[in-house]
């Protein structure tokens, strides 16, 4: 057992800076992917709530389809398939696009659920009080919906962070690819993959806890509101 840790004592100074660099790429991939997902999801939800049946159908079809397809298939299709149509993306940007598309389908569900959770009477009362539809949305509906959406949004980010590991398979220099390269260099796969697992854990676990705490606090507030 102590021999196991001895290896870390010996090699950690060499591994640490390389993994830290790769962790930065992982953070970029998941954060940019998440921002793209928020944007696309807002578009999808706007389409789903529009008056045109065609837009509603399109929004639903995209969400259902993306949810039924593995991210890896999406990433490989974007990275290897798009060049046939004259659009060549680097692994980095194909990764962000793929994560954004995949995330959008899930974030759209969160947005929809959040907006649906605001009682209809809120909107009607605000309209009756003389607010414009835009004001109703930004000042009355959205703030209440955000409370409900926050915990699942954090979970979506954690999912994207973990999913960004698949970008290693389209040659993006993030944590997983760095770990693979190092494991064939040092022949210490167990040490390296456990260490890289700890890197992901160190980012994902605190966020998961935050999401859980937020969820508990918000549900407490809502229950209290319901009883008074």
């Amino acid at each position: 057992m102590s021999a196991f840790f001895q290896v870390y004592r010996e090699y950690l100074p060499e591994w640490w800076p390389r993994l830290l660099d790769a962790a930065r790429v992982t953070a970029e991939l998941s954060t940019l992917g998440f921002l793209l997902a928020l944007l696309l999801a807002a578009l999808l939800v706007a389409m789903a709530r529009s008056r045109s049946p065609a837009l509603r159908l399109a929004s639903n079809a995209v969400v259902q389809f993306v949810r039924a397809v593995p991210l890896l298939a999406l990433l490989l299709a974007l990275y290897f398939g798009l060049p046939a149509f004259g659009l060549t993306l680097s692994g980095y940007w194909a990764g962000i696009l793929g994560l954004g598309l995949q995330g959008a389908a899930y974030v759209a569900e969160v947005f929809r659920g959040g907006l649906d959770s605001v009682h209809r009477g809120q909107r009607e009362a605000a309209l009756a009080a003389g607010l414009t539809p835009r004001q109703v949305f930004t000042a009355v509906v959205l703030p209440q919906a955000l409370r409900v959406m926050l915990p699942p949004l954090v979970n979506c980010y954690v999912s994207l962070l973990k999913d960004s590991s698949l970008c290693a398979l389209i040659a993006t220099d993030e944590l997983m690819l760095a770990a693979r390269a190092m494991s064939s260099e040092y022949f210490l796969p167990l040490h390296i993959f456990v260490l890289v697992g700890l890197f992901y854990f160190a980012i994902a676990f605190p966020l998961s806890m935050v999401s859980r705490l937020l969820g508990r606090r918000l549900s407490r507030g809502r229950r209290a509101m319901g009883t008074t």
Partner: protein, 216 residues
């Protein structure tokens, strides 16, 4: 261009067989171990056990599945524990799934009113009988939507097994690309194939939910 389609579809279907084996094997491990852990988690009085389960669940859920597969397949091989690619995929996805389902089942059992179990015990049922006839059936009904989500997620996650060279759909897709160069057609077929497996499964779960009146 389309004359390669039959070959592509047949080859990918071969991969779908492996994907199905991986998914079913992993689901079996996930369900059994997940239920066992959830029961221990909810009914044990020992804080040590609960902490150990908590550590296991959080580690499994906050680290990418790809890292788990690499640890099992490459990592354990270096200390003499060798898995086949398919075996590592089944065990890896199964262990991750056990953590997911442990959370789902624990939440399900905690959501059931304690009175259910107490009433069953008061009626003279043994603790095992109370579990078997009162707690578990209601818990499974309650958690059916979450189990359905997990099932479709698992089918999609089998694609990750291609990273350790398990011969499933994405593995064959990449082989086909290097032999036929019909890249867009191959990946489009793979995507459609996954969708045509996942859609019926989630449809089946939706139907079961409606049958059992979940959420009513």
């Amino acid at each position: 261009m389309l004359d390669a389609l039959p070959t592509i579809v047949l080859t990918l279907l071969e991969g779908a067989v492996t994907a199905a084996q991986v998914a079913l094997g992993a689901a079996l491990i996930a369900f059994t171990l997940g239920l066992l852990l959830a029961l221990l988690n909810v009914f044990t009085a020992l804080a040590v056990v609960r902490t150990a389960i908590g550590v296991y669940v959080e580690w499994m859920r906050n680290v990418p599945a790809l890292a788990h597969l690499f640890i099992l397949y490459f990592g354990l091989a270096s200390i003499g524990v060798r898995f086949s690619p398919k075996g590592a995929a089944i065990v890896g996805l199964g262990l991750v799934g056990a953590a997911v389902l442990c959370d789902v089942f624990s939440a399900g059992m905690r959501a059931l009113h304690v009175g259910q179990r107490e009433a069953a015990l008061a009626c003279g049922l043994s603790p095992m009988q109370a579990l078997r006839y009162i707690v578990l059936p209601q818990m499974l009904r309650l958690t059916l939507p979450a189990i359905g989500n997990y099932a479709s997620q698992l089918i999609k996650d089998t694609s990750i097994a291609s990273a350790i060279a398990a011969p499933e759909i994405m593995f064959y897709a990449r082989n086909l690309v290097t032999s036929t160069f019909q890249t867009p057609l191959i990946y489009a077929s793979a995507v459609v194939l996954y969708a045509s497996i996942v859609f019926p499964v989630s449809w089946m779960f939706n139907r079961m939910e409606r049958r059992l009146g979940v959420g009513r």
